[in-house]
């Protein structure tokens, strides 16, 4: 980019986890006032490289050069003190503490007397959030807010920390388009006006093209290429990332035969939603779209007995649930649900196969589940969704983010459900994997199941849905057939 020496350089970085080589001889550099994007498939090693950069991992081979000096960071604290801040892919927020405090974690403003200045903290937090379009009470614990706010909080925290090098690992994965837009403006602003150097990781290539000066592509833990953003295109990036052309075609819809309603929601009301009526037919994918706070995620939970509702009925294939049904009842009636939060739903320290067999353990293992039976059930579904590496014995926590998401889906296909409710099924997935997962959903439909895709990502909803239902402020505001010419902008305007 320029002739000045880079502010930061990584040379020949190799990082192994036991037998697995996550990074091999990777080079990376960053200049002052530059946004350098890092892209690659799930498991390519992006987060691992950034964790080395931010002092989380300090056992690796290779050179780390900051400001022209060879260093080895001792800890994240060390990195922070040198002006390197990182937004982690798996959010690192403190749910019990207030939003404002989460924004100022570790560096709370002090008054002249040296005490924590809550007023300034609350004021600044409120202002900064408002600039990004969030008008919320920052004194409440963060846990009361949806994932999107939690992510914004973390982004703001790192930005406000004054770090000169900002590492953003998928900062927009839980945001809806309007917020993404503002965040991109903010990032560009930071770079051009405040001369911050930014490393930006994302699977949304449009986004990458808009913020990045340069793009480095990793594949299987190796450098593939570093290109200038102006000199490349989305399609070129995709082929660099995948190492092949993407077969962008999703399986086509099979002719739906006799119409049969699988899921029927009648006048459902409860805290976050009101008077929701929705039918889902066999062999149909319905997209439930809304921004955060629309109540669509809570509605999905309610279908699974995980969110208390006050009135209305939920009927699955002719069976109406009693008001206080549990997730177990829902599963028995053929419902599957993938939560939008991986951290809540997966057992990070447990083996993949245990994560996968849990919902249907009774069917898979009977009263005495055995290792052999469980792995025999888990391995095919892991292969079906293409978990990489496909090792049933490894803990889920060692998988890359996207692959964790695949495990979260895989656990429901050991014993196929009638109705599949998925919240943000493709969060954090690479372009290839997104298609794989969406194909899985389409295949479900083609086999005659009903699929409800709940998302704040218009692309996801548009890509697979036969019908799109838009929710806003807890109510269904419109419902339309997805004829193929529906545009992202049109959808967003409906809210």
């Amino acid at each position: 980019m320029s002739d000045t020496p880079p502010i930061l350089e990584l040379r020949q970085i190799t990082k192994r986890f036991g037998g697995l080589t996550a990074l091999e001889d990777v080079n990376f550099d960053l200049h002052v006032g530059e946004t350098h994007a890092l892209v690659g498939e799930n498991g390519a090693g992006k987060s691992t490289l950034m964790r080395i950069l931010s002092g989380v991992y300090n056992e690796y081979d290779g050179d780390y050069i900051l400001d022209g000096q060879h260093i080895r960071l001792a800890s994240p604290r060390d990195a922070l003190s040198r002006g390197i801040g990182m937004i982690h892919q798996e959010l690192n927020v403190m749910p019990e503490l207030s939003v404002a405090e989460n924004i100022f974690l570790g560096r709370q403003p002090l008054t002249a007397m040296g005490s924590v200045d809550w007023r300034t903290m609350n004021r600044v937090a409120e202002e900064e959030l408002r600039k990004l379009g969030f008008n919320i009470n920052v004194r409440l614990p963060l846990e009361q807010y949806p994932l999107g706010i939690q992510q914004v909080t973390e982004v703001l925290r790192v930005i406000l920390s004054g770090a000169r090098i900002l590492i953003m690992d998928e900062p927009t994965s839980a945001l809806s388009p309007a917020e993404v837009e503002r965040l991109i403006q903010l990032v560009n602003d930071l770079r051009s006006r405040h001369k911050r150097s930014i490393i930006y990781i994302s699977h949304f290539l449009d986004e990458v093209m808009r913020v990045a000066d340069r793009v480095t592509v990793l594949r299987d833990g190796r450098n593939v290429a570093t290109v200038n953003a102006t000199e490349t295109s989305k399609t070129q990036l995709i082929s660099l990332i995948l190492g092949r052309e993407m077969d962008a075609v999703l399986p086509s819809a099979s002719e739906s035969t006799a119409k049969r309603t699988l899921l029927s929601i009648k006048d459902l009301s409860g805290g976050a939603f009101e008077n929701v009526n929705l039918d889902l037919d066999a062999g149909e994918i319905v997209g439930l779209y809304g921004l955060f706070g629309a109540g669509h995620f809570d509605l999905a939970r309610a279908l699974f007995g995980m969110f208390r509702f006050d009135s209305g009925t939920i009927t699955i294939d002719g069976y109406s649930f009693p008001t206080n049904f549990t997730a177990r009842d829902a599963i028995k009636k053929g419902l599957a649900y993938v939560s939008e939060s991986r951290r809540k739903s997966l057992f990070m320290d447990e083996a993949n196969y245990r994560n996968i067999t849990l919902p249907h353990l009774g069917h898979i293992g009977g009263f005495w589940p055995s290792y052999a039976k469980e792995v025999a059930a888990a391995r095919p579904v892991m292969e079906m969704v293409n978990v990489q590496p496909c090792k049933p014995d490894n803990p889920v926590g060692t998988l890359s983010g996207g692959n964790q998401q695949k495990v979260a889906i895989a656990r429901w296909i050991t014993y196929p459900p009638k109705v599949f409710v998925v919240s943000e099924p493709t969060r954090g997935m690479d372009v290839g994997a997104k298609n794989e997962v969406l194909s899985i959903l389409v295949n479900f439909r083609n086999q005659g199941y009903g699929v409800l895709v709940v998302s704040s990502e218009p692309e996801t909803v548009l890509a697979v849905s036969d019908r799109i239902v838009v929710m806003s402020r807890g109510k269904i505001v419109s419902e339309l057939a997805n004829t193929g010419d529906l545009q992202k902008e049109a959808l967003m305007r409906l809210i």
Partner: protein
């Protein structure tokens, strides 16, 4: 743009009402306290006398000092099982130095509190350096401390106590009807803890570390230091409580009063501080202590009570108080994940 505004204002509305609901919920123990006080003032005519309310304060003072330290520890998600032994050890060290070795105050008191702080620090180091769960390291430390007390005292109770301890435990400020010094010490202890936890960075680090230790580390907090500091603070409070306790009872016993440990943790948790860290605080501890003190004292004030039934009734009333907590904290949350 308009769309986001609409959404967020909606959120705003909803959230404002939850502020009220939330303070109702977090302060639910306060209602429990009021319910208990109402119950006991109806059940015993002597309960509400000012002198008895003062008694309650005196009775919970030692626990309050211990509870201040324990709040720090629980907020970081650790636990300290050694406080009861610290109380014992401090009394013995102080009395041994003062009586047997003839060292004048303030050295015996300083040394005693110093040793307690040091042992707390050592538990902390064992927990952080050697990654021993604090449950185990403080359990071992509790054996060490009470073992030291037995050894130093050779099993003897000291009935002569130093003027410092006597002042702290039995003195009054402002004449024979004045405020009890130990109540003042306890109040100060709680106040300082409150200020530290609320208004210093250190205090906020305590919360952060408890809420999400790895997150706190990623945010640059030296969590090992925080864990160690919390246990050292608890040790210090154990030391202070030891001095106060010996002054109140007028003697230094080598025997550990086991109930201090469980009562302290119980009172702090009762107030609403979580054993998992990050949630709670000194205000909750104060309420927990008051509930606890009211419960104990109230039953002592009901004269007709068959002493053989008293413990059973204490348990039932405690369980009732915990359930009242729920009733005041409102119906279960909607989100069940």
């Amino acid at each position: 743009m308009t769309q986001t505004d609409a959404v967020t204002s909606h959120l705003h509305e909803e959230k404002r009402s939850t502020v009220l609901k939330r303070s109702l919920r977090t302060l639910a123990p306060l209602w429990t306290l009021l319910a208990l006080m109402l119950f006991f003032s109806l059940a015993s005519e002597s309960f509400l006398r000012p002198i008895n309310l003062n008694n309650i304060l005196v009775q919970i003072s030692t626990l309050a000092i211990l509870g201040a330290g324990m709040t720090f520890v629980l907020l970081t998600g650790q636990i300290d099982l050694s406080i009861a032994s610290m109380v014992t050890l401090v009394g013995i060290i102080n009395a041994h130095m003062f009586v047997n070795m003839g060292i004048p105050e303030p050295w015996p008191s300083l040394a005693a509190v110093g040793v307690a702080t040091l042992l707390g620090l050592l538990s902390g180091l064992a927990t952080t350096r050697f990654r021993i769960p604090s449950f185990m390291s403080t359990l071992a430390m509790s054996l060490i401390a009470s073992g030291l007390a037995t050894w130093i005292s050779q099993g003897r109770t000291f009935f002569k106590i130093s003027e410092v301890a006597a002042f702290l435990g039995s003195g009054r400020i402002g004449g024979p009807d004045g405020l009890r010094v130990l109540t003042v010490v306890a109040a100060l202890c709680l106040l300082v803890s409150f200020l530290v936890l609320r208004y210093t960075r250190f205090g906020r680090y305590i919360y952060m570390t408890g809420a999400n230790p790895s997150g706190a580390r990623l945010a640059g907090v030296n969590t090992n230091l925080i864990f160690t500091a919390a246990l050292a603070i608890s040790g210090f409070c154990g030391g202070l409580a030891g001095l106060v306790n010996m002054g109140r009872l007028g003697s230094a016993q080598p025997q550990v009063i086991d109930s201090f440990m469980i009562d302290t943790i119980g009172a702090v948790v009762l107030g609403g501080t979580s054993l998992n860290g990050g949630r709670g605080g000194i205000i909750q501890t104060v309420i927990g202590l008051l509930i606890y003190g009211t419960l104990r004292n109230g039953l002592d004030n009901i004269q007709q009570l068959d002493p053989f039934m008293k413990e059973f009734i204490t348990g039932v009333v405690l369980m009732g108080a915990l359930i009242i907590n729920l009733l005041f904290s409102g119906r279960s949350v909607r989100d069940r994940t």
